[in-house]
Symmetry: C2
DNA sequence: TACCTATAGTTGAGACCTCAACCAGAGCGT
DNA sequence: ACGCTCTGGTTGAGGTCTCAACTATAGGTA
């Protein structure tokens, strides 16, 4: 399921450096955007983006599943999110005529107003901390890199989100033997196996 | 506090395209890594990285605040995380001699074992979905881009995390008038003001 | 019609994160 | 010693996310 564990190709020093720069940049960037948006609009980015997708759709409304696809969200998460947004008065849900199990979410006027109010601050931060610190050339590069990563991931993620609705699994197990242990880095050791036992309550 | 809202520079179509590619790629990538690590080790990436930092430190131990800095985590979050990891038996906490209010976290043998077990699968996914889909040139570009973003963000994020400990605020208010409303996109309208009223319980 | 499966969406439990408040020791000035 | 402030770290409440189970309708097949 995870591919053969024997002889893992660890990251080189250069790769490690790039990897950590990337992770830290993304972490800081997202944290900053989220803080800013919460402060200004009392809403996390994930919710903001839901409103954005609705605002861009005809009639400012979308089927839940279409919205989930656009927002790259599991149906479960979207359901919780829309419930919260509905309670806040920013969206409303109603049934569809065609398919009686589906429901459509619609952006309310209050929701649109909040979006209008939040957008300038949000865009300003995005520009200031992403586009303004990159050259035009780097911006193009970032687009290409993002595209490549996403293309490789899309099928896997689509499947994972789809599994939200079904219950399908093929059992598979494998283990690989490792060598000796040393200092220990993010990616620098062989390994015996992989056994869960979640880090959780009780 | 948010800079002048008057005349916001919205994203161009090209910028919008890059922006969404980037966000989706990052979202999918992180989601994939997190799912994989949870499945294999019962632990979210954030926890995994804490163990990594500990494993790389002399004595496999660190002061909480040093660990927080390395992991780019608020002290609060780290405290909760280490509490969970301690309950799982992966780290242990004890007081320091020098400063009796500080405490140091140390990776246990069980923690190191879990790390060893988790590392191969994790690295394999990072390689497969990041480095393998990029050219060497793109990898370098990604490093440079990440560095630029992080440099611009570091002071702000450092300050934000520091504020976890204090309570400091300067009040400031501003509002800007906007124009007419249209279709509404992620970044395409003027705006009246920004008023919180969180999307939350009650 | 009855059954069987797939799809649309919701729900509850529990884990993780954020925010604000809090305790305790350190450091300094008096 | 006393008081004041700053720093290291924890705690509790509440919000969001994940996972797994669940309801209900749709669609196909006998």
């Amino acid at each position: 399921m995870l591919g053969p564990m024997t002889d893992v190709r660890w990251l080189t020093d250069d790769e490690q450096r790039i990897w950590r720069l990337f992770m830290n940049a993304v972490r800081d960037f997202n944290a900053h955007l989220d803080r800013q948006l919460r402060r200004d609009s009392g809403m996390p980015v994930a919710y903001y983006e839901i409103l954005v997708h609705l605002s861009e759709s005809p009639g400012r409304s979308l089927r839940m599943s279409e919205l989930a696809d656009l927002a790259r969200s599991s149906r479960s998460r979207l359901s919780h999110a829309v419930a919260a947004l509905e309670k806040a008065g920013y969206v409303s849900r109603c049934a569809t005529d065609a398919d009686r199990r589906g429901s459509v979410a619609q952006l309310t006027d209050a929701g649109f107003a909040v979006l209008e109010a939040a957008a300038p601050g949000h865009v300003t931060e995005v520009r200031k901390h992403l586009f303004d610190v990159l050259t035009p050339e780097q911006q193009r590069q970032l687009g290409a890199i993002s595209g490549a990563v996403q293309d490789g991931l899309r099928p896997i993620c689509a499947q994972a989100l789809a599994e939200d609705a079904e219950a399908e699994c093929a059992a598979g197990g494998d283990a690989a033997a490792g060598g000796a242990g040393g200092g220990g880095t993010a990616a620098q050791e062989p390994a015996p196996q992989a056994a869960p036992e979640p880090v959780t309550e009780s």
